[in-house]
């Protein structure tokens, strides 16, 4: 997988993740091109578009389009399954889409096929952050109290 894009129906970018080197300029060009191609496709058509010698597999969930760019010879049906896998995890575990994606894919390859494991890995990390926040809060409260 070369990159992952989440685009809203209005064409706003919600998440980007690049596994192959694209300069910032190329990135915005890619996004522009692809949202133009994908958002205009009708509902009954297949979930693949061919683009610059690659294939982009996309699937729409509610008002969000999940897009993944792959090589010509990759298995498109499996990518659909990976998108679905990711969406289900997002659905079950309420957390940052970025952090969850990092537990699903690394270097453009699938990392974990168990949704439960992903959730089990993200949860403690999120709670580490929460704990740190609370600590910071209580410290600032103490300072605030002391300087009243």
């Amino acid at each position: 997988i070369h990159f992952v894009l989440l685009i809203s129906r209005q064409g706003k970018v919600r998440l980007t993740k690049w596994y192959s080197p694209y300069s910032q300029k190329e990135r915005s060009k890619v996004i522009r091109e692809l949202s133009g191609m994908i958002l205009t496709r009708g509902p009954k058509l297949c979930n693949f578009v061919e683009w610059r010698g690659f294939k982009v597999v996309y699937k729409r969930y509610a008002s969000l389009y999940f897009c993944m760019c792959i090589n010509q010879e990759d298995n498109e049906l499996e990518i659909l399954e990976i998108i679905h896998h990711y969406v289900e995890i997002l659905d079950r575990y309420f957390g940052s889409a970025y952090y969850i994606l990092d537990e699903v894919l690394i270097a453009g390859e699938l990392q974990e096929s168990s949704k439960k494991t992903v959730a089990r890995l993200v949860a403690p990390q999120d709670s580490l952050v929460e704990a740190a926040k609370e600590e910071a809060n209580s410290i600032s409260n103490i300072i605030a109290q002391a300087t009243k």
Binding site: K44, L80, E81, I106, Q111, L128
Partner: protein
Amino acid sequence: MNPFSSGTRLSWVRIKVLFHCRDMIRAIRACKTAAEERAVVRKECASIRAAVSDNDQDYRHRNLAKLMFIHMLGYPTHFGQMECLKLIAAPGFPEKRIGYLGLMLLLDERQEVLMLVTNSLKQDLNHTNQYIVGLALCALGNICSAEMARDLAPEVERLLQFRDPNVRKKAALCSIRIVKKVPDLAENFVNPVVSLLKEKHHGVLLTGIQLCIDLCKLSEEALEYFRKKCTEGLVKVLKDVVNSPYAPEYDVGGIADPFLHIRLLRLLRVLGHGDADASDCMNDILAQVATKTESNKNAGNAILYECVETIMSIEDNSGLRVLAINILGRFLSNRDNNIRYVALNMLMKAVSVDDQAVQRHRVTILECVKDSDASIRKRALELVYLLVNESNVQPLTKELIDYLQVSDQDFKEDLTAKICSIVEKLSPDKIWYIDQMLKVLPQAGNYVKDEVWHALIVVITNASNLHGYTVRSLYKAIQTSGDQETLVRVAVWCIGEYGDMLVNNIGMLNVEEPITVTENDAVDVIQIAIKRHTLDLTTRAMCLIALLKLSSRFPSCSQRIKDIITQSKGSLLLELQQRSIEFDSIIEKHQNIRSALVERMPVLDEATYSGRRAGSMRATVSTSHGTALNLPNGVAKTAAAPLVDLLDLGAEEPAAPSSSGGNFLQDLLDVDTSSSSQSGTTQPQKSGTDVLLDLLSIGSPSPQNGSSAPDILSISKDNRTSVSALDSLSSAIGPSVQASFTAGDAPMMDLLAGFGPSPPAPPPTEDNGPAYPPMVAFESSSLRIMFNLSKQPVSPQVTHIEAIFTNKSSDVYTDFIFQAAVPKFLQLHLEPASGNTLPGSGNGSITQKLQVTNTQHGKKSIVMRIRISYKLKGKDMLEEGQISNFPRDL
């Protein structure tokens, strides 16, 4: 936390920074116009910048979060890059987490800043907190550069054995990135992978397999090693997965871990490809997967798809292949577009394996070309293109052309290109070719590429019996489709060339209805075209040329044509203006030469054209020294430039056939100047005071030679294949005509090749290594050259020649060198001679082998220019000659 609760001591800027990240997002989303959004973003960026320069610790991660959001909207955020590095270097998990996230989003591997993070990464890879190790692995796996890969590979290698499987799997994927960046490192990972492949943890197994696939791609040795060590184990793993009981954690639509299935199948494909034993080992399980997998859900189909691909790639097992093709057949008739798409995709690969099996689905595939889904149409078209062969080209092309009429505009370009390519490649005869193109041009003339219509014109000029038919058909087509650029070009060109056949219904075919076209009607077509603003310069320039040609063909319209040409005299386009002025002066002042000037174009040489298209320029002259033969041809040099000019005048724009015509002349010059160097070339210069006349006498027979010459021209054009006509001519006219041609055009060259006072060639014996009697290739008072010819039946184009040189004088020749040159359609290879001293009085000989490849075998005969140099009593001697008495079928 409310930013304002403790904000009393903060400056206004700080308060802005404290503006909560969610609030910012809300503010941005609330913007109604792009300008408003830009203003909000600008303010936010300013405050973040201020915070950066203040080195604000507390809100660094919040600022970065905001920056990432701003980045996603497409605004520049480079000033945040250093912030990422600072956060990564911070001790706490939350800072590191957002720091790495920012790193992956805001930077890519090509930025130098990235190098600064190597040290932090190294520390984090050795951190005691496994989540921090995980963050570092993830970042490294997603963006590491080659330098970083080299520096950090040992850490990652070590982590492949880490106690927690979740770190192992991350390290495995990170290794993929590392070996892709630095392939030399691949061997370090081979052994660790073998143990990963034995793991039970799905994540580790999944990523280990993936790493293994990538190692196999990089190193043949690794592939061989894994094939020996792991194939059986992997087959067993796949068996276990396929037969595993319901496992809710990995279940997708009733299948246990389809992802693992797919990766195992993929790795088996790599291992089985090109190795019969490994392929054998996996046959059973592949058959089981192919027959037992449920195909009612996407996950099952994904597995079947992967399985089919594996079956196609591993060593031949016909039983399995039947299974695979059947699965694809089922896919193709599926109602789900996704499934049909992948079926088409897969069938493309299957064509090379089993063409017949794919041909069975041709009708369905053809239907897919007409699908409403562009992705499916495109795949299907590619597939149809692969399926076309001599036996089905006619019905398939008909289907495609029929569809061209109703297809979407944006699909027409692809479709047209494919149709044209099929027609060019597989047409059974010229009339079919021309007919198909005559259907395509009115439909999609604006999508036809230049090479295609150039090729069409070459074909048309070569089909002398179809000239009339073609020009009439084009005339009819242009009446309704005058807006299709390439149709207009071809039609204008043909009307210019064959206008007389249009108005007189010459060369009627049985299928044709006679049409009534007056000379004025024909001129109308061109006048309309030249006035049409949508047509480009090339087309209009072609129109001018056609008009010039018609002015001679249709004398009654001459004045009208002159008026049309004159209208372009004031054109702002230099090309049109120049042509118009020049042509006008030809019509006005050079009546006497006009008809000769606008003679029909010589037949364009198909092989030369296609050869040139392929971009393969063959060496035209080869000698034993490998240097070009330098013939005394002062005249040729001066003649070359005006000749090209003339052609340019007489033909159309340079990219069109004229270019091949122009080059063609060059071809001719190569040979022809040599053939004429002894005599004729001086004639035209004497006779010409008018420059144009001069040119003409080069392009066509010079006036002194009487009326027989033009006859040869036309005969040779119309009967290029009719050898007997040439034969009779050659005996009738003889060498004097040869001299009068200075640098003629193609057919003349053919004539020249056929000429010569030599005895007629012996009749060739057919097939299986024809035998040729020795021929006297050259004879002078001092020298005789005999050629022994032979051919291998397998390569009829190649003639092997053994040249035997005999000295007829009584003195020894030293420094004997034989050189030869051939026209472009031949390739010559000279082997070293047996010696360079030739004893006198026939007391010995030198032999030398030559090999001539005739790219136009069956169409043209071999001709050769030779030059022999030697020393006689210390004096340099030079003899030259042309050999044109080769047997015809060489």
